[in-house]
Each structure stands twice: as structure tokens, then as C-alpha cells.
Amino acid sequence: MGYPILNVLIFLPLAGAVVVMAIPAARADLARYIGVGFAVVELGFVVDLVVQFKTVAGFQFVSNHSWISAFGISWHLGVDGISLFLVAMTALLFPIAMAGPRVASNPRSFMGWMLVLEAGCIATFVAMDLFVFFVMFEVTLVPGYFVIAGWGGLRRNYAAFKFFIYTFAGSAFLFVGILSVWFLVGRRTGHNSFDLITITRTASHLPLVDQKLILLAFVAAFAVKIPLVPFHTWLPDAYTEAPTAGSMVIAGILFKLGAYGILRFGVFIFPTAAIDLAPLLLTLAAIGIIYGAVVATVQRDFKRLVAYGSVADVGFIVLGVFAFTSQGITGGVLEMVNHGLTTGAMFFLVGMIWERRRTLRISELGGLQKSAPVMAGVFVLVIMAAIGLPGLNGFVGEFLVLVGTFITHRWWAVVGAVGVILAAVYLLWAFQRVFQGPARGANATMADMTWRERGAIAPLLVGIVFLGVYPAPVLNRITPSVSNLLAHVHSVDPHFKIPPSGTTKVVYAVPANQAVDGALTGAAR
């Protein structure tokens, strides 16, 4: 209590990276334990963050320091219901990814890059300054690149290059978009600032054409990162070639940066333009759901199948966000968390098969449930969560998304529902081919999950079941922020009808009676 928790969350992994790199080469194995140790301590701090978080709208734990004053750049951090669980999921997934799969060589660099990546991801989620956001968004590319290129599969260099260049090119538009809104808002208010709140308050008064163009620039960048369908071609390569731990965090967290960015920096800043653009994005999302599922069905490589499945899942998130209903956006945010858990677990399991069998061609696998019953059981659970079986987390998210979309955009919801069925098709069919049937050759003798792996994946399974059975604690924290966002949309665009139960007052930042560290002081500051 009373400490700058968000700064700790950002700088602790960085400190960990320095410590890990400083370990002498002779004791390089220590890096595994120290690296994971830092990630676990980080998780502890995040638990504290979640516990202290108040179920109110607006940003909490705000920390604001001037950084480069000439441009109005400040080190402005804060967390609200939308970002809270993304931070939590990041902190949960990283130690698992670092501890679970085996790293073949050079653990010092690996742990170092992973910790840098963790710091970058968390900083992106809590940034309240557009400059800080962009910087962190970009910086995650470097460790991401090195994790893929350093420890990936056979075509790792190609995949890493593609990953970096595609996203970097997309960021070009984001960069110019951010600078444009910074400049236009600065001209209007009289002083330049990258502050999210300042910009949000003013940006909606800009000419609608400007708003749309800037939003399009943002969308171009985030669509590459998410990725929406025409911009997705880097994804299967990056996911497939990355090492298991890399796939887990890249699929689980890195692409959430795009989805989160589109919600926080697209919809929040330019609500009117976002409503106008919604049909386009909803269509792309719907195409993505169907396309991803269909292409996943015909994949021969198991990891590629999971990667294309990700393309489909992402469609649901975008669908929910651009439905512009409380349920849809809440569902979208929850889907981000869900997808982190299920995809993380799925890539982990696929990685285990790769470690044991050294092949992921579906035709060469088969009957694994005889030799590895525990793995098969875990896999069923994860698949069911991904399909959206009631009682598991995927159901809650997809249901909210589909309900929310149905209210405003009926036919897109129909397409989404078809996607749910297709997901069942490709996942169950894959399970059938890989785990059932007769086991031949090495498949019959494959080792089951070790206790280390069971321990590592357990938190993900707990999360999957918990969110499915009792999502209320999570939803209670997300909903106020989502209502706040919708209230903002309404305040900007009076034609927009707020769905029932939304608050009508926009809480931009910290409530008046709340100290910047999140404590409710009672006295106005």
C-alpha cells in the first residue's frame, strides 16, 4: 500500500533482466531459477494490484511524472478495469512460459529477453500517455524478435524478420496518427500533450474527417498486430516458428496489445469515427472468424492449426469491441483474457508434443492418449474451453460477445455463431487425429506430462475453470470501466444509445476523493 505499484511492475522485470544477464557464464543454469523467480515475484505484486483494485470506473494507481516536457510527454501510468486483467494475465502467463517448456541453450539471454518482454507488455497495458504507449508497443518487438530468432524452429529467421517488419511497418501509421492527434489537439487546446485524458477530452471535437483518418491510421497498425484477416500472414509463421514459450506469450499477450490498443486508443479517443468505421471492422472480424477456422481445419501441422485457430478467436474480440454494447465490449475484454489462458495452454501442450516427438505433422501423430492420458485429458479441457463449452471460460466470453453483437449487428452475430461451430469442428477433429485411434511407432511410447509440466499448466487450468464457473469477480471489475467508456461515447455522440445499466457520468481519471496511489482517502485532494 502506498508504493508506486505500476512502476514497480514495469521496472522489476527490467531489473530481473539485468540480474539474469549479469550471472557468470559458469553458473548459467541459475538463470532459469532467478528469471522465473523474478516473474513469480512480479505475479505477487500483480495479485496485490488486483486485490487493492476498487470496483469503480476510472483509472487507479495513477502515476504521473513529466518526462520530455518539450513535447508534453509524461510518464503517465494508470490501470482500469479494461487493462487490469490483461496485466494480471501477462503476469500469470510469463512465469508459466518461462518455467514450463525446456529451453535448449543459453538460458541467460532467454530469460533476459523474456523479462524485458514482460516489462514492455505490462507497460503497454498501463500507459496513459500516447507516446509512452507507442514506445512500449514498439519496444516489445525487439525481445519478441530475439526470442523467435534465437530459439525458434527451422525457419525462425524468416519468421522473426516477417514478424518485426510487418509490425514495424504497421506502426508507421500508428506513429503518424499519434503525432497527428497530438498536433491537432495541441493546436486546439493551446499546449501540446500526449496525455490520454487530455486528448480524449478534445479529440472528439476535431473535424470528423480528421478523426476518421487518424483512426484509420491507428486501425492499420493494430490490425497488423491483432491481426485482422488481410494483415495476418505474419502470424502463422511467427507462432509456428517461435519456441514454445515464445508462442505462448506472443499468442497469449503480444497480440492483445493490438486488441487493447484498438479499444483504448481507437474507440475511446474517437468514438464517433469508431461507430462509423464499425461495419468495416465487424466485417473483417467476421471474415477472420470463418477464414481462420476453415484454414485451421485443413492444416497438416498441429502448431499451425492452433495458430490459425488464433486468427479465428481474435475475430470474436474485435466483434465484441465494435458491437458498441456493454455486453459486447465486456465480452471482448474477457475474451482477451480467456484467449490468453486457452491459447497459452494450447501452445504449451503442443510444445510438449514437439519436445517428445520432434514432429508436429498431424499425420505422423495418433493415439497419444494411450501413452499420455494426462496430457490428453488436459487437452480435452483446454479444447472445450476454446470451443466455448458452458462451465468453462470460453463460454462466458463468447456468449457475451454474441449477445452484445446481436443487439446491434444481428447478422454479424450469426456469422460469429457459425464460427463457434467451426471451432468445434477443427479442434475436435484435430484431437481425434492426434490423440485417438491406434498408436503406432514412437506414439505408443511417448512419455506423459512430467510433474513440472503439470505444475506449470495447473494455474492456467484453474483459471479456465474458475472464470467459467464464477466470472462475477472479474466482470464486476471490468463492467464499470466499460460503462464509463460507453458513457463517454454517449457524451460525445448523443445519437448513440447507452445500453441499460450504464452509468451516465464519465469518470475520466481518478475520482476526486481518491489518492493517486489508489487509496480512498475520503478527503478531496
Binding site: 518526462w67 520530455i68 516536457s69 518539450a70 513535447f71 507507442f134 514506445v135 512500449m136 514498439e138 519496444v139 518487438l141 525487439v142 524478435y145 530475439f146 530468432a149 534465437g150 527451422l154 525457419r155 525462425r156 529467421n157 524468416y158 519468421a159 522473426a160 524478420f161 516477417k162 518485426f164 517488419i165 514495424f168 511497418a169 506502426s171 508507421a172 501509421f173 506513429f175 503518424v176 503525432l179 497527428s180 497530438w182 498536433f183
Partner: protein, 575 residues
């Protein structure tokens, strides 16, 4: 007439009070010299004489380290004095001195500091290189000091005549420096090429200066600006032609496309530390001249020159970054990279605003340290006689020298514009300036060029982190297909000196490693070897180590904090 050509501020006192004390008797031919205001130039020029004198007096020529030490001390002294100059200007204001020929303002001092620092670092780098190559002697350092003084004069120039004087001092020193490596054929070729093309560009510049003088009646920037502000020239063809020629002449020095053809050959051939010095100083001085000419003398012609600079900037960005991709030689690659970096400075210049100028200055300031650091690393790993300049020389560097690889990685990421390096803030600054002038298209092009450029910076980074023997066929095949996909857009290498032809003509079953560079073998004359160099340990001499540390520290410092940024922001011009 002579007086008129030199500007003759004694009869026409420009802008009243700022030059009050310098002309006691109106009409007098006596021009008082404010020595303090040009002290850094004098120190460098005088220092070169000192070095020569010491060399003549001392009995034995070979004294390892002495010349570098002397030069660094002289450069350091110049830097210290320019810091005093800065403080002096802060308190007493900028002014024109020495008959208006020298402009004494923060802009000048920033370049003096930049060039003085580059001289110190360049001298430190040259020491071990020249000893290794058996070329040690005072001459190189004398040239370096003279070159620096020429660059400073260009930045300080108050008129076209002084600008040309500085340009020639700078250029002639650089011609000789490029050809300094006597036993390398490429070095001689570079010197000759640079000399011939450089002479042309000097002539073009001079012709432009003459035309501008003819159109406006003065060679002084301030006078030209005032004349054009108060008079409308009915037929401005001569002025426009003069302006175009001035841009061409200076564009040659900063290696802007399409005046860049000398750059790859000269960068490749010149001795490595001199290349770094040239990249830093000649570019900075050339841009100082461009900024002075366009923003001080011709601000009223903005509507005419901004489109021209726009086109040049776009060409420079795209040609620089695309052609860099197909290079197999490290120094050539850095040459194209420096071309594309010039494009960003041009974006700042094109904005023609205070923001843009400050951005351009910040860019040049940060780039100086990045490029000197990069060439320092290249100088270390190339081995004796510049044996290995190809990309393969960096292969497995992280195994042999982890710290060196990390430093190089920093410089590469900074050039690519990754956040938390000075390169990112520099790009941010100029792009912001472009956006503020409503140049969204240019801003997007600039950032997309950065994405293209990231490709070849990353390729070097990747090679450094690939184990020396790790050339598995599958991995390089992947590289091949990627490069083959990108290379057809690249066209052919402009100079064609090595017969490098880019294209999709990558023979699939080519040597495994050759694939990485994307079919350089098409010319049939030279296949790039990307084999790792023999596993000898790279030794880092003390002087180079210091240079690298300084450059790396500056690159990070300027990337995460604002003092350097504020410094550039305050370096506005007098007029």
C-alpha cells in the same frame, strides 16, 4: 566592389543593434576581428599547424599515440571553448561578427561542439587503425583538424563566400583522407572518385552562388533575405536557377539522392575511421550550409524550394533504405544507410519551421555518435588490411565478443529507430515537425522507409547472434526466400561498381550462405562469402573502447532523457 562582395556591413548595418560595436568608423575598410567568436575554428586550424610543427621538430616520426593524443586534446579544447561560446551567447545574445561574415549564434556553436566531439572521437578511432595498417603519422590528423575547421566555418558562415571557403577546406581534406590508405586500391579509387565528383559539385555550388548574387546583389545571407523580403523580382528565373544549383552543390555533400552516387564507393574505400568521421562531419556541415542558405537567405522562396526538398527527401529515404538491403559489404551498407538517414534530416529541413530545424539539428547530433560508433565496430572486426568488410565478418560476434556485439546491436537499433535509443527520438522529432506542417504523406513515407531499413539492420544483428558454424541449409534457405521476395523491388545497385545485381535470381541450390545476401552472385564476378571469420579474438584497443563507450552512452542518454533535445531546441538561428 570588393567590399560589396564581402557584404560590407559597415555601410549597411544589418538589424541595427546586434552589430553595433563592430564598425567604429562607417565606411572604413578595417574590419575588427572578434577572435573569441571564432575561437573553435582557430583552435582546430592552429592545432593542425601545431601538429605539423611538432612533427617537424621531433626527430623520429613514429611515436605511437602521440598524434592522436594531440588531436584529441586540440578537439577537446575546441569543444570546451565552444561551451563557453554557448554561455556567452546565452547572456549577450547572438550576433554577426567579422564584417558579417561569421554568424555567432547557438546554431553555429552546436555544430562547433558536434564537430569538435567528432574530431576527438575520430582521432581516438584513427590511432589504432593507422598503427595496425602501418600508416601512422601526423598527416592524417592534420587533415582531420583542417576538415573540422572547414566544417565549423560552414556552420558559422554568414554568406555564400564564407560557406564556399569552408566547403573547400572541408572537401579537400576529405579527398586526401579518402585516399589515405596507400596500399589499398579501393582507397585510391575512392579518393579520386570523390575528388572528381566533389570538384564538380563545388563548381555547381559556386555557379549557384554567382547566380544568386546576380539576382539579389549580395552574397550575405541576411542581405539576400532582406532583399527578397522587401523586393519582388519580376523575373526570378536566375534566382531559382541559383537556388537549385546551391541545393545540388550542398546536396552532394550530404549525400542526398540523386546526388549520392559517390557515397557507397567512397565510404567503402576510405579508411574506416575516416569514413565514420566523414559521415558525421561532412553530413553535419553540409546540412548546416543547407539550413543557412534555405532558411536564412531564401525563406521567402519557401514555396519554391520546399517541393524540391520534398522530392529529394522521399527519393533519399527510399533509395537509401531499399538499396541498402542488397549490399553485401558492411561499409557499403552503412553508406546507403547514411543516405537514408540524410532523408530524415531533409524531412526536418523541409518542414521549414523552428521545430523542423531543431529536429534536424537533434538528428545530426545523435547521428554523429551512432555512425562513429558503428564504424568503430566495423574497424575492429574487419581485421588487418581491411580484409573482411563483408557481412560475414560480424557472424558469431556475440560469441567472440558479447559486449561488442551488444554495443553494435544498440547502434543498429538506434539507426532503425527503435525506442529508448537516440535514433527514435530523432525520428520522432523530424516526423513531428513534418506533421505540424501538415506533411502527413511525407511522415508516413518516412516511417515506412524506417520499416524497410529495419530489415538490413536486423540482418546484421541476426548474423552477430548466429553461431559461427550454424549455417544450416534450412535456415539460410528461409533467408533466401525472404530476400528473394523483397529484392526484386530493389532494382540494381546504383553504382554497379562490383557488378552487384539484385533481383530474384537467387539460385536455389546456391551455396548455402550466399543466399543471405540475395543473389549477389548474379554478376558472376564475386560471390559474397558469409562464412564466419577465423575464431581469433577481436582485440579492442583502449582508445576504441572509450569511443564506443561514449557513443553508446550518448545514444542511450539522448534516447531516454530530454537535455540533448532541449539543447538542440535552443540552437535556433540568428535571423
Amino acid at each position: 566592389m570588393v567590399l560589396g562582395l564581402l557584404g560590407g556591413p559597415c555601410t549597411v548595418a544589418p538589424s541595427g543593434a546586434t552589430v553595433a560595436n563592430f564598425c567604429d568608423t562607417p565606411g572604413s575598410l578595417h574590419i575588427p576581428v572578434a577572435y573569441f567568436s571564432i575561437a573553435p575554428v582557430l583552435i582546430l586550424a592552429g592545432g593542425s599547424l601545431v601538429v605539423l610543427t611538432v612533427a617537424a621538430v621531433l626527430p623520429k616520426r613514429s611515436r605511437p599515440g602521440l598524434w592522436a593524443f594531440l588531436t584529441a586534446a586540440i578537439g577537446g579544447a575546441a569543444a570546451v571553448v565552444s561551451a563557453f561560446n554557448w554561455a556567452d551567447i546565452s547572456t549577450r545574445g547572438p550576433r554577426a561578427t567579422i564584417g558579417g561574415q561569421i554568424i555567432y549564434d547557438h546554431f553555429t556553436v552546436l555544430f562547433e561542439l558536434l564537430i569538435a566531439s567528432a574530431t576527438v572521437l575520430g582521432a581516438l578511432l584513427s590511432d589504432s587503425y593507422l598503427q595496425r595498417e602501418g600508416l601512422d603519422g601526423p598527416e592524417a590528423y592534420v587533415l582531420m583538424l583542417l576538415c573540422g575547421s572547414g566544417g565549423m566555418l560552414m556552420a558559422a558562415s554568414g554568406g555564400l563566400v564564407m560557406l564556399f571557403l569552408g566547403l573547400e577546406i572541408l572537401s579537400i581534406s576529405l579527398y586526401v583522407m579518402s585516399a589515405y590508405h596507400r596500399r589499398r586500391l579501393e582507397s585510391g579509387e575512392a579518393g579520386l572518385k570523390y575528388f572528381i565528383l566533389g570538384s564538380f559539385s563545388s563548381a555547381i555550388f559556386l555557379y549557384g552562388a554567382a547566380l544568386v548574387y546576380g539576382a539579389t546583389g549580395s552574397t550575405q545571407f541576411g542581405e539576400i533575405g532582406r532583399f527578397l523580403a522587401t523586393n519582388t523580382i519580376a523575373n526570378n528565373g536566375i534566382l531559382l536557377a541559383g537556388m537549385a544549383l546551391l541545393i545540388v552543390g550542398l546536396g552532394f555533400k550530404v549525400a542526398a539522392v540523386p546526388f549520392h552516387f559517390w557515397t557507397p564507393d567512397v565510404y567503402q574505400g576510405a579508411p574506416t575511421p575516416f569514413t565514420g568521421y566523414m559521415a558525421a562531419v561532412a553530413k553535419a556541415a553540409g546540412f548546416a550550409g543547407l539550413l543557412r542558405v534555405l532558411l536564412e537567405a531564401l525563406p521567402t522562396q519557401e514555396v519554391n524550394w520546399r517541393p524540391a526538398i520534398w522530392v529529394i527527401a522521399v527519393l533519399t529515404l527510399l533509395v537509401g533504405s531499399v538499396l541498402a538491403i542488397v549490399q553485401s559489404d558492411l561499409k557499403r551498407m552503412l553508406a546507403y544507410s547514411s543516405i537514408s538517414q540524410a532523408g530524415y534530416v531533409l524531412i526536418g529541413l523541409q518542414a521549414a519551421s523552428k521545430q523542423g530545424t531543431a529536429g534536424a539539428l537533434f538528428y545530426l547530433l545523435t547521428y554523429t555518435f551512432i555512425i562513429l560508433g558503428s564504424f568503430a565496430v566495423v574497424g575492429l572486426i574487419q581485421g588487418e588490411g581491411e580484409a573482411r568488410n563483408d557481412l560475414g565478418a560480424v557472424r558469431g560476434l556475440s560469441k567472440r565478443r558479447p559486449a561488442l556485439a551488444l554495443t553494435m546491436l544498440l547502434f543498429l537499433l538506434a539507426q532503425a529507430g527503435v525506442p529508448f535509443t537516440s535514433g527514435f527520438l530523432a525520428k520522432f522529432y523530424v516526423i513531428a515537425a513534418a506533421v505540424q506542417r501538415g506533411q502527413y504523406a511525407l511522415a508516413v513515407i518516412g516511417m515506412l522507409a524506417a520499416a524497410i531499413a529495419a530489415f538490413f539492420y536486423l540482418r546484421v544483428a541476426l548474423l552477430m547472434y548466429v553461431a559461427p558454424g550454424d549455417g544450416s541449409a534450412a535456415e539460410t534457405a528461409a533467408d533466401t526466400s525472404l530476400v528473394a521476395g523483397l529484392a526484386p523491388a530493389a532494382g540494381t545497385d546504383g553504382s554497379g561498381a562490383d557488378g552487384h545485381v539484385a533481383g530474384g535470381a537467387v539460385a536455389g541450390g546456391d551455396e548455402a550462405d550466399g543466399g543471405v545476401t540475395g543473389g549477389v552472385a548474379a554478376g558472376g564476378r564475386r560471390v559474397a562469402t558469409l562464412e564466419a571469420p577465423p575464431a581469433t579474438k577481436v582485440t579492442i584497443p583502449f582508445t576504441v573502447g572509450i569511443t564506443l563507450a561514449v557513443c553508446a552512452a550518448f545514444t542511450i542518454f539522448a534516447g531516454v532523457s530530454s537535455p540533448v533535445l532541449d539543447f538542440a531546441r535552443h540552437a535556433n538561428m540568428l535571423f
